[in-house]
Symmetry: C2
Subunit: 314 residues, 2 copies
């Protein structure tokens, strides 16, 4: 049997002949001429090297080899139908993988969207990568993921980005801090205290430092810590003060005090970013469509800035 000379079309025609038991009838059904079908069968038999149909007592009779081939075809077409179903689900976004990489801070907000989405599409795999800005940027450069979540989006030469959430920064101090009960403070009042900062390159730190620089201020003392959690706990236990995203702070957390800094309103936005020079899975596009329609529903509306319609998701 020489598979190379067998096409799916040939098998389709063969199956129809077996089903109808007639070459002419098959020709009619498939909108072919009778000689075409005759020839197809002849070629298939040559490729298989075995008679598949015989004319016995004036009617077509399927040989053993023919019947077995017919069964084989049924299985084979069955597998391709399954695959077609898979593709349909893939295209509908209800199956597949949506790989997202996000910076640490985003892990406080993204799950609110990912949870409902995952419930809607349980067959979509959602591998999440969480890292500091440098790590996520690295992945972005290499195009390892479908979607990236940044507060300061990187160069958009081969990417598109759209913001979806306001990201205000807050100054927090220990409960027993001298400023803890001051109604209104100014940025300069804070310079004398020790600041607990994320690593260099962190979006929060970048924003804070550029503000300081533009106003000619310098920190008297700072300590670098690896995570937002560490900073929050450290502040609560009196190690120093810090600037953190509003979203990192639980509203009911009373282990520290949020200052009212009247002359400074630091804020950035959360962006969904996707490369334009890389294949983005249907599942990922579908997730962004979902996000576009549902950010208001699942995230705190007071911070939502839904500009996801700017993304080209097709």
């Amino acid at each position: 049997m020489d598979l190379r000379h067998i096409s799916f079309r040939l098998l389709e025609v063969f199956m129809s002949v077996v089903k109808t038991g007639s070459i002419s009838e098959t020709a009619r059904r498939l909108h072919l001429t009778q000689p075409t079908v005759s020839l197809q069968i002849k070629r298939l038999q040559e490729a298989v090297g075995e008679p598949l149909l015989l004319i016995q007592q004036q009617k077509l009779h399927v040989t053993d080899a023919g019947l077995e081939l017919f069964k084989t075809c049924q299985q084979v077409f069955g597998h391709f139908e399954d695959y077609q179903d898979f593709l349909t689900e893939l295209n509908g976004g209800s199956r597949g993988r949506c790989k997202i990489a996000m910076v640490n801070t985003a892990q406080y907000i993204l799950p609110k969207l990912l949870g409902p989405y995952s419930n809607l599409h349980p067959h979509v795999e959602l591998p999440l990568e969480i890292g500091n800005r440098a790590e996520v940027l690295d992945r972005f450069e290499r195009g390892e993921d479908d979607i990236y979540v940044f507060s300061h989006p990187p160069s958009l030469e081969h990417a598109q980005a759209a913001r979806f959430l306001h990201n205000p920064l807050e100054f927090i101090v220990p409960l027993n801090h001298p400023l803890a009960h001051v109604k209104a403070v100014k940025l300069t009042d804070l310079m004398q205290y020790r600041f607990l900062l994320r690593e260099n390159g962190s979006a929060t730190r970048m924003l804070f430092e550029s503000e300081l620089q533009s106003r000619g201020l310098v920190l008297s003392d700072s300590v670098q810590m690896a995570s937002n959690e560490a900073i929050r706990v450290a502040v609560a236990s009196g190690m120093g003060i810090a600037v953190l995203s509003r979203h990192v702070l639980a509203t009911d957390d009373t282990s520290f005090k949020v200052l009212n800094v009247t002359d400074t309103h630091l804020a950035s936005h959360w962006y969904f970013v996707m490369r334009t020079d890389r294949y983005i899975s249907h599942a990922a596009r579908n997730f962004l469509k979902f996000a576009q329609q549902h950010v208001e529903q699942y995230l705190d509306t007071q911070w939502v800035r839904n500009e996801l319609h700017n993304l080209d998701l097709n």
Copy 2:
């Protein structure tokens, strides 16, 4: 996904690319050029309507759609391999069907060959048709079976035949018959008795009647019976006398007496007959090859006339 534009070759190439993880390597292995493989993959992706391979971080990466297609291909090729195995068995004669039609009398001898053959090839179906000569001739005319067993083969215009066994006819009488203990009788001595005969057209009867005719003899009385068994039992119970094939008579059957008719030696031969204008299954050809090699072993050698080498079995 458009199956019509997908060939098995295309899938083969695709599978190799997935396995090797490289287009160039596949080209080398399949003795193709690299652009050929690139193009094949491109065409396959177009036919599927979905990317199957991506270049990520300088190496080929299989997408979900690609991986699923790969699995589908494995299954599909698996089915064709199974089918190929089936064909191989079919060709080797160890699988398939061997349809044999034989006249009644042959059922006393053919099982001795069919038994051992069937043990050797348990997967070969052996549907047997047994009928009187007219019925088997009818089947022969319509070409309904692979092999026919006749003692008088029909016209050989679209058939070939070869004999394999001598078929002597014997005269039998009841134990209490006047001739039962006569040492030697002549054919004319028998004419006065009632003959039990098979239906008109039976080879035994034809042979007997043509002998009578050539010697100008006429039976005084005859009764027609439907089977050899019926005749044997009828003779034993004294209804009359009969001519029967030697092979129909068990050697240890003492319920009747075999006459020694000195002036008459009626005999024919058993033939295997196959049509030349019809497809003959491998299993059937294989059975005849088996018969050619083993008739001496399984049939009474004293009657064997093995001329099966005259058959064209390829």
